[in-house]
């Protein structure tokens, strides 16, 4: 891997922007374990580790695949459908900033890597408590290329959507709609848990859910605030909106909970935080703080409706990735077309400010992305299903994925556990406790 002289690179780099992007990258990587905690709290205790491990597995697999090929396909050149292979194996990814950025190219790549990782991890929410771990890892590897890299290229990497004028500040297209509609497909192909719809399957630790949501929000400041790749105004606007929008979503969610069940729920609040962060993800750097607050309030409605309605169907999209990410991302993308404001983003106005065409560009993305994400994921899993069984047996599902898939318990007491002592030659003797 060749690297141009250090000095030359340094020239265009801004230390402040670089400082912020270093932090933003670390924050977004932290989001994936935080998501693991959030998801782990939402499942039954016997599936705790398996659920968390799907997120860890995504870091490992999507992280490596991204460095090897994903980044290149998404960000090399401006082909309209897919990027090139110039950056394969991180070739030519050095300290020299990419066109129009003030941070080392290598850092830009790492920041984008954390996006691919968490998006793949998000999809796991649709298939927890039943999908086998091995097939899931393979799915992540293929999905991150076939779906994520493609959508990232369309919206971020100079692909046809970006070129066509569609605005997506921090990933409403590849991350939110990409994960949400892929989750729906995954849930349909993998199928419902055996007890879905006939037994109560409850979150085993709501504190994990609340803490996980808190850490996700924390990380989202890097996710949205870093998507300007600098400390410039758009970044600051997206950052501040990432505080205002979820706050409004929370207030509205409280109200909806009260209307529906006369009680404000904690799991609901955690969900509202995620929904708020997702709503502002695409719009963050394009709408005024005031409109961002409106988005948080209004955008919560369709997501809430979907979360209440989905469990009445046969679709066991277990952790509601579609509602919290797909629908929220969809809403945020359209909202740009309505209320983007040139005065704040310096790029384009929305319909409300007299620019109808922007809404068209947004609607196009809101139409195409779900179709592509759903279709490709559906096909991918169907094909995988021809070679291996995607889900655990009913018996294994009953025993629990932690013991069956990982040979561990999340909360082991050690009682009744007999130590197996392999001697030096690896031959096995059972310990004699006496």
């Amino acid at each position: 891997m060749s690297a141009l002289p250090i000095a030359q690179a340094a020239a265009e780099i801004d230390t402040g922007d670089t400082a912020w992007m270093l932090v933003a990258t670390a924050l977004v990587l932290m989001m994936t374990p935080a998501l693991g905690l959030f998801y782990a709290g939402l499942v039954r205790s016997k599936n705790t580790l398996n659920t968390f491990m799907m997120c860890v597995g995504a870091i490992a697999v999507a992280g490596v695949v991204w460095a090897l090929v994903g980044y290149s396909l998404a960000f090399d050149g401006d082909g309209s459908l897919i990027g090139g292979l110039g950056y394969v194996g991180l070739n030519d990814v050095t300290f020299i900033p990419r066109e129009g950025t003030t941070i080392p190219h290598l850092l830009f790549m790492a920041f984008q890597a954390t996006f691919c990782i968490i998006t793949a991890a998000l999809v796991s929410g649709a298939v927890v408590e039943r999908m086998r771990f091995g097939p899931f890892l393979i799915f992540v590897a293929l999905w991150s290329i076939l779906v994520y890299s493609v959508l990232a290229h369309w919206s971020f990497g100079g692909g046809w959507l970006a070129a066509g004028g569609t605005l997506d500040f921090a990933g409403g297209i590849p991350v939110e709609m990409g994960s949400g509609f892929s989750a729906l497909a995954a849930a349909l192909v993998v199928g419902a848990r055996k007890d879905y719809g006939r037994q109560a399957l409850l979150p085993h630790n709501a504190v994990y859910v609340l803490l996980g949501a808190g850490l996700l929000w924390f990380g989202w400041f890097g996710f949205n605030g870093g998507s300007g790749f600098s400390t410039g105004d758009p970044s600051v606007l997206a950052f501040v909106n990432t505080l205002l929008t979820p706050a409004c979503s929370l207030v509205v969610w409280f109200a909806l909970d009260l209307i529906r069940g006369r009680k404000v729920t904690a799991i609901g609040a955690a969900t509202a935080i995620i929904v708020g962060c997702v709503l502002i993800t695409p719009a963050g750097g394009f709408v005024s703080p005031g409109w961002a607050m409106v988005l948080g309030a209004v955008g919560a409605l369709p997501c809430y409706a979907m979360i209440v309605w989905r469990p009445r169907t046969r679709v066991d999209e277990t952790l509601d990735v579609l509602a919290a990410h797909g629908i929220a991302g969809f809403t945020g993308i359209l909202f740009i077309g309505l209320f983007a404001s040139l005065a704040w983003n310096g790029i384009a106005d929305g319909l409300f400010f007299g620019n109808a065409s922007q809404l068209g560009d947004q609607a196009l993305a809101a139409l195409v992305t779900p179709l592509y994400a759903f279709g490709m994921t559906y096909a991918l899993l169907r094909v995988m299903g021809l070679f291996t069984s995607l889900r655990a047996t009913e018996h294994d599902e009953a025993v629990g994925m932690d013991v069956v898939q990982h040979g561990e318990e999340a909360y082991a007491s050690g009682e009744g556990a007999i130590l197996v002592l392999p001697d030096a030659d690896g031959e096995v003797l059972v310990a004699d406790p006496s």
């Binding site: 109560a200 018996h395 561990e408 009744g416 556990a417 007999i418 197996v420």
Partner: protein, 117 residues
């Protein structure tokens, strides 16, 4: 009166409750236990430590009933708890000399006969 103790699979607990409900057995106490029976041990690994675990999670029901309700209770436990695989569990019937309802202090039948509620 008898004290019926039933040990079943946790995933069958709700089915058992449903069956007991249908049998009009109202008072029930249940708790988590770990059991060892005919099932095979499973192996777990934590870093370099490998262990054989011979205990399975089970749910224990404790149900005080008047004599005529013993059989219905046993049937309910069997119907609700059976899967047919090793590990379904056991039912134990122990003589019950006295039962008292703490709220009222009333004794025996009054405290356990479901119909009385």
């Amino acid at each position: 009166m008898k004290l019926v103790i039933g040990i079943v699979r946790p995933e069958k607990a709700n089915d058992v409750l449903e069956a007991l409900y249908r049998a009009e057995v109202r008072g029930v106490s249940m708790s988590r236990v770990q059991g060892h029976g005919g099932e095979l041990d499973r192996v777990e690994t934590y870093r370099g430590t490998t262990v054989k675990v011979g205990l399975e999670d089970k749910t224990r029901f404790e149900i005080a009933v008047s004599d005529e309700f013993v059989q219905p209770t046993i049937d309910a436990l069997c119907d609700g708890g059976r899967t047919g695989e090793v590990g379904d569990g056991k039912i134990f019937v122990v003589p019950l000399e006295r039962a008292v309802r703490i709220r009222t202090g009333e004794s025996d039948q009054a405290a356990v006969t479901p119909v009385a509620k």
